[in-house]
Symmetry: C2
Subunit: 333 residues, 2 copies
């Protein structure tokens, strides 16, 4: 099985997880299903991955779905939705609340089968070379921000661009872009963005949960026996849980390194900015749903599950975070 | 491979997930590793599962580790730690921050190999037949609450008991216990606790993340070839992510059913109660760490990772939850 990818070779988290997934499929199948993995640029450029598989030249790609919103606007939904849901909520929607069926329908139109293969957790808001004190400060900014987050920024008057990971640094350093978001401290540290931008903003309003995906040619998928399909599905679930744990385990120490060794200034977006972005996110979702009936169906399904997720988070994880913040003393080390 | 369990046959979430895990191992191995699964009471009683495997009578069990704190006090740590960490934080600690090595060391003393196979997410605080307006109201209460949460309740002057799932309802209805916690709305609904207790409290301070585990006899584990070990590890990761998604997808609608159809009253523990329980949790952690050197090592590792998790949650997921609560209008349905 030939697999192409949007991620650079050996890139921590994203790239290594894709490579691990391919290796695990070969291992679990005892070699009955071998995989040849090509990182971004090794066979085709990152953003040619979709066409490479849809055209039948390769059997699968590993990517983030919002890179393909030019193919179908609805693809943007499946990676992350601004001010939408957390990773657990998102995975629950995909798996048990109608997400997968809608995703299959959309990908099926291109001869593809979609499987979730990872998540980054709540991302960071991005790197800026000046402070963001109001929504006004974002106007006119040229920022690398793909997917629906980019559409929201455009509505605000910024100029969003989509660039694969391997091209962001050079554009930021040259000044071709003023700002960028990528993932979170662990991944961003390796990108050396701190050399060109000093302010690191949170939270990642645009990507509260970011889904990584593995798309397989439907023709290749349907030619596999049931147990090989089970092996692929199980290996994807394994890769999915592995990488989110890896992000969570490494983000905080990388953040400390960025702050202490590279003089990065950590800042929270002011509530006024977040509130503006939230309202515009709602408008972007509405516009997109008006584009075609399948997008509308996806939007409605997400909005409905988001509503109940908000209600439940308030009495579960969010309530726990609040309780953990009470002044009690836990244990001394 | 003979597998026993603490979960009732076909019990949603916990039980079905254990059955799914066993079936998947057989499927992925194309029958080279068959599993015979026995639910609680089918081969041995729920709380005899540990001995059944440690003695060599069965090859593996699926359970929650805090049931075995009588074997080693340190086992209590591995299921959940009061006011400790969320599911993502917990899994990151197990997988990438030293948790698994400590867990292996502790289980190795009993000839066992531990693997995480599931999680419930942040649990609910429990079912009470009177309001809890102050920490004083918990004193003297006879409550089913296993693990470290039970130890905290004991320190407060309550009488905690540990009962397997299949025995809680009858004890609550008969009045042998005054209160109980179990999991969350989806699982608790099937238990019909609402017939005997009206008040349903949140958050689950005692189990902010609850790990479900699969323990395999070390002897059986070491006799397996590398690819069969990989199949077991991958199937566990698959079961792990499957069940947490299932809980998340179902909890909110079950909560609505409990409130609307069964007149359950949803209440938040007052901050004074949570703050008291938080301080006592710290004391319980300290006491336990003083018991023996391995417990101390586990405690120190958890406390250290918890500290950085708190710092990171504040700028990532927790900050996102707060941003989502701003007054902006998202999308109309």
């Amino acid at each position: 099985m030939t697999v192409v990818s949007t991620w650079p070779r050996d890139f921590p988290g994203l790239g290594i997880s894709a490579q691990r997934l391919c290796a695990r499929i070969t291992e679990l199948s005892e070699g009955r299903l071998t995989t040849q993995y090509f990182a971004a640029g090794e066979r085709v450029g990152a953003f040619d991955s979709f066409d490479e598989v849809a055209s039948g030249n390769a059997n699968a790609y590993i990517a983030a779905d919002y890179y393909w919103k030019g193919k179908h606007p609805g693809f943007a939904y499946f990676t992350s939705v601004p001010l939408g849901m957390t990773t657990y909520e998102w995975n629950a929607w995909i798996k048990f609340a109608g997400g997968q069926a809608l995703w299959d329908e959309m990908s099926g139109e291109y001869g593809l089968k979609a499987i979730a293969c990872g998540a980054t957790g709540t991302q960071m808001g991005g790197w800026f070379n000046k402070e963001v004190n109001s929504a006004e400060d974002l106007k006119g900014l040229k920022m690398r921000i793909p997917g629906l987050g980019g559409d929201v920024m455009a509505k605000l008057g910024a100029s969003p661009v989509s660039l694969p990971g391997g091209q962001i640094y050079e554009n930021l350093v040259s000044g071709a872009i003023d700002a960028t978001e990528w993932v979170g401290p662990w991944n961003d540290y390796f990108m050396k963005f701190y050399e060109a931008a000093k302010y690191y903003y949170y939270p990642g309003w645009h990507e509260p949960a970011t889904l990584l995906d593995n798309f397989i040619s439907l023709k290749a998928w349907e030619s596999l026996s049931g147990d090989l399909q089970a092996i692929i599905a199980t290996a994807n679930a394994y890769a999915n849980s592995f990488v989110i744990n890896e992000f969570n385990a490494n983000n905080n120490s990388s953040l400390n390194t960025l702050i202490n060794d590279h003089n990065v200034v950590l800042k929270k977006f002011p509530d006024e900015v977040l509130n503006n972005l939230g309202g515009l996110s709602g408008k972007v979702m509405g516009d997109l749903a008006a584009a075609d009936s399948l997008s509308r169906e996806v939007m409605t399904s997400i909005a409905s599950f988001r509503k109940q997720s908000i209600a439940y988070a308030k009495i579960s994880e969010q309530a726990f975070y609040n309780a953990r913040g009470l002044p009690f003393k836990w244990v001394e080390l």
